[in-house]
């Protein structure tokens, strides 16, 4: 074998190893924190495990119970939890896309104090959910909170329908504006100014420029944020747990709250049922994400 052939073979071997080396850290983390727990979770959903004794395989019994046994409390929990989770996603996601987009567009015009406002809008994203909810619990306090004072009402907003949903939406938007806003700002900076200058020459209005240039130019980022935000909001837990307590009358109790309580509540663990519910939630997220991809790509 000639020297050049050896070198070529060596390069080929390197080119096979190198990509694996680069993705190795992610693969390790992905396997430990995602793949193994998911596979284990799927297995547990087919057992009657209580976290203590050995899991007994029960086949589809858990799924049968939560889907078909109308007399079971777990059937009710799945329906209530899933309905409230979908409601939350439907209420929150459009705002979590539109509000940061509008703010990013406004900041992109380089107004005075733009950096200050950028920091201001981004800052809540850095807070832990517990801190966020404590802040807003005080804001919504009937006796001492400023929100009720401003609105001139004594209605307990966090425990009265439909205001409980409004408070959850407001808190979530406030908390999550920053992440998407930064993505949109980066995308907007990448749009060539030539397009806008040409549009100006053609006499396009601001709205026309927004819909004909800005939105199409950042559709990739919008698709990304839409999918990521939807997945994130399906996993809602902290806000209803701490702000509304899932009430009133289970009206804001989301599926993750039932899953957590069944698996790690105050009583004996019902991890099998909890796991089955978690798998159902995961499948819902996958289906919705796939539909979003399909819909937006087809439209494109």
């Amino acid at each position: 074998m000639s020297l050049s052939q050896k070198k070529k073979k060596g390069n080929q071997a390197q080119s096979k190893v190198f990509p694996w080396l680069f993705i190795a850290p992610h693969l390790v983390i992905f396997s430990i924190f995602f793949l193994i727990p998911v596979v284990f979770g799927i297995y547990i959903s087919f057992t009657d495990w209580d976290l203590v004794s050995s899991p007994n395989f029960v086949g589809l019994a858990n799924y049968q119970e939560i889907f078909t046994n109308q007399d079971s409390i777990f059937y009710t929990q799945l329906r209530t939890g899933l309905t409230n989770t979908f409601k939350f996603v439907i209420f929150v996601v459009p705002f979590c896309i539109m509000v940061p987009l509008l703010i990013a567009v406004a900041l992109n015009t380089k107004p005075k104090l733009g950096k200050f406002f950028q920091s201001l809008f981004y800052m809540p994203s850095l807070f832990a959910i517990s801190a966020v909810v404590i802040i807003w619990t005080l804001m919504f306090n009937v006796t001492y909170g400023p929100v009720n004072k401003l609105l001139g009402t004594s209605i307990p907003l966090t425990s009265t329908m439909p205001y409980a949903w409004v408070t959850l939406v407001v808190v979530t938007i406030w908390w999550t504006i920053g992440g998407n806003m930064i993505i949109y700002q980066a995308a907007l900076n990448g749009i060539p100014q030539d397009y806008y200058e040409a549009a100006d020459i053609d006499g396009a209005s601001s709205l026309q420029k927004f819909f004909k240039i800005t939105l199409p130019s950042i559709k990739g980022q919008i698709l990304y944020t839409l999918v990521v935000t939807t997945i994130a909001q399906f996993n809602v837990y902290g806000q209803p747990l701490m702000l509304t307590g899932g009430g009133p009358s289970d009206g804001t109790r989301v599926l993750l709250m039932y899953i957590q309580q069944n698996a790690f509540g105050s009583g004996q663990s019902i991890a099998g049922i909890a796991s089955a519910m978690a798998i159902v939630l995961g499948i819902c997220i996958m289906i919705v994400s796939a539909i979003q991809f399909k819909f937006l790509r087809t439209k494109n």
Binding site: A24, L51, T143, P248, G267, Q268
Partner: protein, 428 residues
């Protein structure tokens, strides 16, 4: 170029090794969170005291360690939820099992039926003073199951009623002559106080209040220790009484913060646990502590909801006899050195403190310093108490605040608890 590639490989390998190392279980990790090593001369002690009481338990442990015991105690406080989630994992895996653990009394049956607890029977033979006569009966008896002892009590904490002495004097001056406030007296006082914008009663943590009322009405959580018996008139009457009080306008309102209103002098009676004592000290008025609200003013019929923190040892085949003896030395020391725990607002379970003047001056000692009062303390030791708690915490306030029907409360609770109990395969 080759140097750069070599450097990249080294970096990548380094990152991978670091990650894998981080996921592993080093010996230091095992020492910091738990111990399965019989040879270690350290007692790893898990407890759920992360609030202000965390500093009290730490002070006790430090004080004990200053006595130079053969086995020093390592205090590991963690959030209650995290601790109860970790326990099955570590006990099942056999690794990092704590040597000594505090759990709530209501969990003992559950853990015992799951064969997770080590009995104290053999260990107690050399410690004759750790016996029933030296502890509050309700807290001692709960650790006795099937003729074996599975726990030693640290305390018995009770939900009573804090009251504003000035407001009581103004609106119902003789109500507390017998140290019992009845619902009738509360209602009467509340009707008088309404015109001054004072609430007679704070709507607080309903679980202990309802359980206390339920027993006063003759109810029991289960007749056989397994199946719940919650759908009955005793439960409906209990929740209906509070709904009626709320509707008549003498309690705090939905959305109001009863604690803030109490310390602001706007609430006459504030039912809460003795663990709130140090917080209530914020109040700028003279306050007192008495029994939970009762139906009758007959002390022999009074029920004060209680729970208890209990020392348990989870099964661990690596725990040596010497270490078990070290644990018992610590428990014996706690029995005669619990004043620090009383400073956290709690009532230590040891009767040794009844000889301590400083303790007897603490308001919560009223529940312990009289055998008749000790009789009122009730731990609801139903194995599936956790399911009852979850339901009450989620739904009781909705009923009281008019967002759910009184008539649905008991049957729905019965169904939820029964369905969950049916899923349990442990030793029923």
């Amino acid at each position: 170029m080759r140097v750069k590639k070599f450097a990249s490989i080294v970096l990548m390998v380094g990152v991978c090794v670091s990650i894998l190392a981080g996921c592993g279980n080093s010996s230091d990790d095992s020492k910091s969170s738990g111990s399965s090593k019989g040879g270690s001369n350290e007692i790893v002690f898990w407890n759920p005291f992360t609030g202000p009481d965390g500093s009290n338990i730490k002070a006790m442990v430090d004080e004990y360690n200053k006595t130079n015991p053969e086995f020093k105690v390592k205090n590991v406080s963690m959030k209650e939820g995290d601790m109860y989630t970790k326990i099955p994992t570590v006990v099942n895996s056999g690794k990092n099992i704590p040597d000594l653990n505090i759990i709530h009394a209501e969990r003992i049956k559950q853990y015992k039926d799951n064969d997770m607890l080590q009995a104290y029977d053999d260990a107690l033979t050399d410690y004759p003073e750790i016996k029933a006569e030296n502890y509050v009966p309700e807290s001692w008896n709960i650790g006795d199951l099937d003729g074996s002892r599975y726990s030693v009590p640290l305390d018995i904490h009770t939900s009573g009623t804090y009251y504003n002495k000035e407001l009581v004097e103004k609106y119902t001056p003789n109500a507390l002559d017998d140290n019992i406030i009845t619902y009738d007296e509360i209602k009467e006082a509340g009707e008088k106080a309404q015109k001054d914008d004072v609430s007679a009663l704070g709507v607080t943590w309903m679980k202990p209040i309802l359980l206390s009322l339920y027993k006063q009405h003759g109810g029991e959580l289960s007749s056989d220790g397994i199946d719940p018996t919650l759908d009955n008139s005793a439960m409906e009457d209990s929740i209906a009484l509070w709904k009626e009080l709320y509707d008549s306008g003498i309690t705090t309102k939905d959305g109001e913060d009863p604690y803030q209103l109490f310390v602001a002098g706007k609430v006459m009676f504030y039912p809460e646990g003795i663990w709130m004592r140090n917080d209530v000290n914020e109040a700028q008025f003279d306050w007192g502590l008495t029994n939970a609200p009762q139906i009758s003013d007959d002390l022999s019929k009074a029920v004060n909801w209680s729970s208890s923190h209990q020392f348990v040892m989870f099964k661990n085949e690596n725990r040596s006899d010497e270490k078990t003896k070290g644990i018992m030395d610590f428990l014996e020391w706690v029995r005669t050195n619990s004043l620090e725990w009383a400073k956290a607002g709690q009532n230590p379970a040891t009767l040794d403190l009844l000889n301590n003047d400083e303790y007897l001056e603490m308001p919560q000692s009223m529940f312990i310093n009289d055998p008749a009062m000790q009789e009122t303390l009730t731990i609801f030791d139903y194995k599936y108490n956790g399911y009852v708690s979850e339901y009450m915490d989620a739904h009781a306030l909705d009923v009281i605040f008019g967002k759910a029907e009184v008539s649905d409360f008991a049957p729905s609770m019965q169904k939820e608890v029964a369905d969950k109990v049916a899923k349990d395969n442990s030793n029923k």
